[in-house]
């Protein structure tokens, strides 16, 4: 008998299997997710917190709207959801704003399509968050160079070349940066 190729080449876990895998996440992975959610919450629309996007990602996994491919770690899977939620929230926030402003200005009932370009609020928020991240590493000039390079979308080799950093300097700076990120990610927010 001839074997036909599968129509979907990636196998995914069933929602119940994914939910079970989520329950079995280890403590270090849970803390890693907390630190990652805190990073992705930077520059989110107003009133959105890291808890909101993390809980939303868990809710989507349990509801089965997000399917985890087989062999992908739960941390990597949740990280992917967090990343997409970040842009989704901005899209939703800005389309709501666009419709509201259009209605107020033109008094037209017909909704217009939202502009795909980032709005002024997102630009201001991005500026502010970049400043906060820069301040986080203000004591470490090498880390600031790496942040600048990362912002420009440079690769590790390009950063080393452009910012005149040796490979050893680059690696040790990354280690220091990880420590700062972990401390920042695990510490409690004062409110």
């Amino acid at each position: 008998m001839r074997h036909l190729p599968r129509l979907v080449d990636k196998r995914v876990l069933l929602p119940a299997q994914t939910a079970r895998a989520l329950q079995l996440v280890s403590d270090p992975d849970l803390l890693r997710l907390k630190a990652i959610a805190r990073i992705y919450a930077r520059g989110l629309p107003p009133a959105m917190t890291w808890e909101d996007i993390l809980q939303e990602s868990f809710a989507r996994i349990i509801a089965g709207t997000r399917q985890c491919p087989e062999g992908v770690s739960m941390v990597a899977f949740v990280t992917g959801i967090l990343r997409s939620l970040r842009s989704e929230y901005w899209r939703r926030f800005e389309s709501a704003e666009t419709l509201r402003v259009k209605y107020q200005q033109e008094r037209v009932d017909l909704p217009s399509l939202p502009d795909a370009a980032p709005g002024p609020e997102q630009t201001v928020s991005a500026h502010q968050e970049l400043e906060i991240i820069t301040r986080l590493f203000s004591q470490d000039p090498a880390a600031l160079k790496i942040i600048r390079g990362l912002g420009q979308g440079l690769t590790a080799e390009q950063i080393q070349k452009t910012m005149a950093l040796s490979k050893t300097d680059y690696d040790s700076t990354r280690k220091r940066m990880r420590r700062v990120l972990l401390r920042e990610g695990l510490a409690c927010e004062t409110k």
Binding site: S26, D27, P28, L30, L31, R32, L33, K34, A35, I36, I39, Y40, R42, G43, W50, E51, L54, V75, A76, T79, R83, R86, P118, Q122, T123, A126, H127, E129, L130, I133, I147, L150, G151, Q152, G153, L154, Q158, K161, T162, R174, M177, R178, R179, L181, L182, R183, G185, L186, A187, C188, E189, K191
Partner: protein, 87 residues
């Protein structure tokens, strides 16, 4: 010769930086995570540890954590109820 520096919008720059920082955290070992929690004097054997704030219990309690705010707001206000009984 220096590489040409590209002009990147703040939104893209932030997205690039965040993705790179998240990748750093994905590479962190379990020992590093546990070591940092210890440095911060967090006891991971307790479920109510500050490390799990926002994960196993809310970091900042909200009214909605204790009361069913949505159902409550759907109910007619007591003021309106009193007025309707008077008329």
């Amino acid at each position: 010769m220096r590489n040409k520096v590209k002009k990147v919008s703040p939104e893209n720059a932030l997205a690039n930086v965040l993705d790179a920082l998240v990748n750093e955290l994905l590479d962190v070992t379990d020992e590093e995570v546990l070591g940092t929690a210890q440095e911060l004097k967090m006891n991971l054997s307790l479920k109510e540890s500050a490390a799990f704030a926002g994960l196993l219990y809310p970091e900042h309690p909200k009214v909605g954590d204790f009361f069913d705010v949505e159902s409550r707001s759907a109910l007619p206000s007591s003021d309106r109820k009193i007025r309707s009984t008077l008329h």
